[in-house]
């Protein structure tokens, strides 16, 4: 499982890049969902989001999931090409699979890579 150390993570499997503001879903999340076939981004550039607001909806052949804003702030960019290539969330969740960028900073409830890895291990079964 890939868990980049420069990112912050939530219990609901979103990642946040403090340097770029990018948000996405983790490698663990994409592997749990399996093949992702649909993604819709629910917020627009310029919109203010609060922590926990649904920012995207993702569907795989197994399940559908809402993706929540890990930090509060203004949406500065949206990955507009993503809905046309949902499979990128499987192949490159931390790179090309970014969903939106938020001008905000990680709260203390967000986990670092080591803590997140431990959290995932506790849930894997």
């Amino acid at each position: 499982m890939n868990v980049p150390s420069n990112l912050k993570y939530t219990k609901s499997d979103e990642w946040f890049d403090p340097s770029s503001g990018a948000v996405g879903i983790s490698d663990f999340a994409q592997s749990q969902l399996s093949d992702i076939v649909f993604v819709e981004i629910l917020v627009e550039e310029g919109e203010e989001v609060t922590v926990g607001k649904a920012i995207a909806s993702v569907e795989s052949v197994k399940a559908s999931a809402e993706i929540y804003a890990p930090v509060a702030g203004k949406v500065s960019a949206v990955n507009k090409g993503l809905p046309d290539k949902p499979e990128i969330l499987n192949s490159d969740p931390f790179g090309e699979g970014w969903m939106i960028k938020i001008e905000g900073s990680a709260g203390s409830e967000m986990m670092d890579a080591a803590a997140y890895e431990q959290d995932c291990a506790g849930r894997a079964h």
Partner: protein, 495 residues
């Protein structure tokens, strides 16, 4: 490209072929009112009757149904549907009537609907009943509308939250969401019950109510049902029961007696209406006394009482604060109501109780046979279904592989990947209509498949092997949607 086993009806078409010859017109010819309203470019298939019959006969042989074999599709209650239902729903008096006929000419239909309303009330312990909703989720929507109307009628406008356990049916949050309510998910505890602490924390004066599927999607009867209901009612909320799993409760527990305010039935599950592939459903809704005035209109009622010389006159009545009409006519009459009426009258009260007891016995028998081979994460006495994990330590075999391999043993796969709270879920509901031999054969197949998962995993990965088509590419099917069978010639210019 896979082999095409049978072309589509459009591909079989040949210009000029015809199945029927229209008789010569016996009415005077008149000009069409407006030629522009007609189009001549519809590519309707042209075939002889025999070719049409053979085409669909061939397709039907690729199918698998409850009439072919065991169909343990969890949560769907795929019981065998008695064929007598097919006779009754085709009786000419039912078949050749129209919903807009004068009530005096359809008294038989109205009596059937009235009695069905009364029977469903008796079975569920509710005070009022509508037969209108077309299916389960439509019933949920109807029920939630009534809950909202109830609060509104009391001037209680700040209730916007619907509480829904994570072991509920997926339609529950969708129904609440359709009405603009916000959904608060309540987790399950380690025994598969609603987590009472989490529920207590969520209960406040903004709660519309709670939607509970009981038995839940783990096949568990909530051990704290009364506490759950009390918590919700103490904060002014209403209790919605998802009756999709009623097949476990007939003649044993009445949701109305437990304190539920609303519940929808799935006549197509519990009361033997053939279903699958999208229809036909039938989702009557029962309500407690405090909601009877909000029921949809019209309901079937007695509009003139009987006297010494005449029978009562059945007709339509409108509840005082009705939420209005939920369907153009009166529900799925022949498809759902006549079949369900037949089934209930055929079994009677004791027979209905037997149905549930055998459904629960069959599920527990299968669970006991599979325990030890498959992990049962919520392992206690189940109701009409149970959920196993379709994965083994050290193996890359998944629930989907096991499900597909079951087809090679001539069984329909169980529901997989639901509920979401179980990893690699296999949700198994045998129903009461299967005998012990069938259950044994199914358990043996699953045990053999578990062995194959260790010794020949490729057998599972490539399954099914004996069906007309092998493993379908579900990912490709979902990513590359083809929503029509042909494109108009000028499609490019249209888009």
């Amino acid at each position: 490209m896979p082999t095409i086993l049978e072309p589509t009806i459009f591909e079989l078409s040949s210009p000029g072929r015809t199945g029927v010859t229209m008789p010569a017109s016996d009415v005077p010819h008149t000009d069409l009112p407006n030629e522009n309203l007609l189009r001549s470019d519809l590519p309707l298939p042209e075939l002889a009757e025999v070719d049409v019959v053979r085409h669909y006969m061939k397709l039907s042989k690729f199918n698998y149904s409850v009439d072919d074999g065991f169909y343990p599709l969890g949560s769907c209650t795929m019981k065998y549907n008695p064929k007598i239902n097919e006779d009754t729903c085709r009786l000419p008096g039912f078949l050749y009537t129209h919903p807009l006929q004068p009530i005096e000419t359809v008294q038989g239909n109205l009596v059937l609907m009235f009695e069905l309303q009364e029977w469903l009330k008796e079975i569920s312990g509710f005070a009022g009943m509508t037969l209108q909703p077309a299916a389960g989720a439509h019933g949920e929507f109807t029920g939630v509308l009534m809950m909202a109307a109830y609060h509104k009628s009391r001037g209680d406008s700040k209730r916007t939250k619907m509480l829904i356990p994570d072991a509920a049916h997926g339609t529950n949050p969708a129904s609440a969401g359709m009405l603009g309510m916000s959904v608060v998910t309540i987790p399950s505890d380690a025994r598969g019950n609603v987590d009472l602490k989490a529920l207590a924390a969520a209960c406040d004066d903004t709660v519309v109510g709670m939607m509970v599927t009981n038995p839940n999607t783990l096949g568990m009867f909530d051990e704290h049902m009364e506490e759950v209901i009390k918590l919700v009612k103490d904060c002014g909320g209403l209790m919605y029961g998802d009756g999709a799993n009623l097949n476990a409760l007939l003649g044993i527990v009445r949701p109305g007696d437990l304190g539920f305010d609303v519940m929808h039935f799935n006549l197509h599950k519990t009361f033997s209406v053939p279903h699958g592939g999208g229809g036909p459903g039938s989702g009557p809704v029962g309500v407690s006394q405090r909601l009877v005035d909000f029921l949809p209109s019209p309901l079937v009622g007695i509009v003139e009482e009987a006297d010494e010389n005449t029978a009562p006159l059945y007709g339509f009545v409108t509840p005082k604060n009705s939420i209005g009409r939920m369907k153009a006519f009166h529900g799925h009459f022949g498809g759902g109501l006549v079949r369900a009426y037949t089934y209930i009258s055929m079994h009677g009260p004791d027979g209905l109780k037997d149905i549930s007891q055998y459904a629960v016995l069959n599920a527990n028998y299968l669970q006991a046979k599979l325990r030890g081979t498959y992990t049962i994460p919520y392992d206690r006495i189940c109701m009409h279904e149970f959920v196993a994990e379709g994965q083994f330590a050290g193996s890359d075999v998944r629930a989907l592989d096991i499900a597909k391999r079951l087809m090679d043993y001539n069984f329909h796969p169980p529901t997989n990947y639901f509920p979401l709270i179980v990893h690699e879920a296999l949700m198994i509901e045998p129903t009461e209509t299967e005998n012990k031999d069938t259950l044994d054969r199914f358990a043996d197949a699953l045990i053999k498949i578990a062995e194959e998962a260790k010794t020949q995993p490729e057998l599972l990965h490539d399954a099914p092997h004996i069906t007309p088509f092998g493993r379908m590419d579900e990912v490709k099917a979902a990513r590359e949607l083809v929503l029509c069978c042909w494109l108009p010639e000028n499609y490019e210019t249209l888009t």
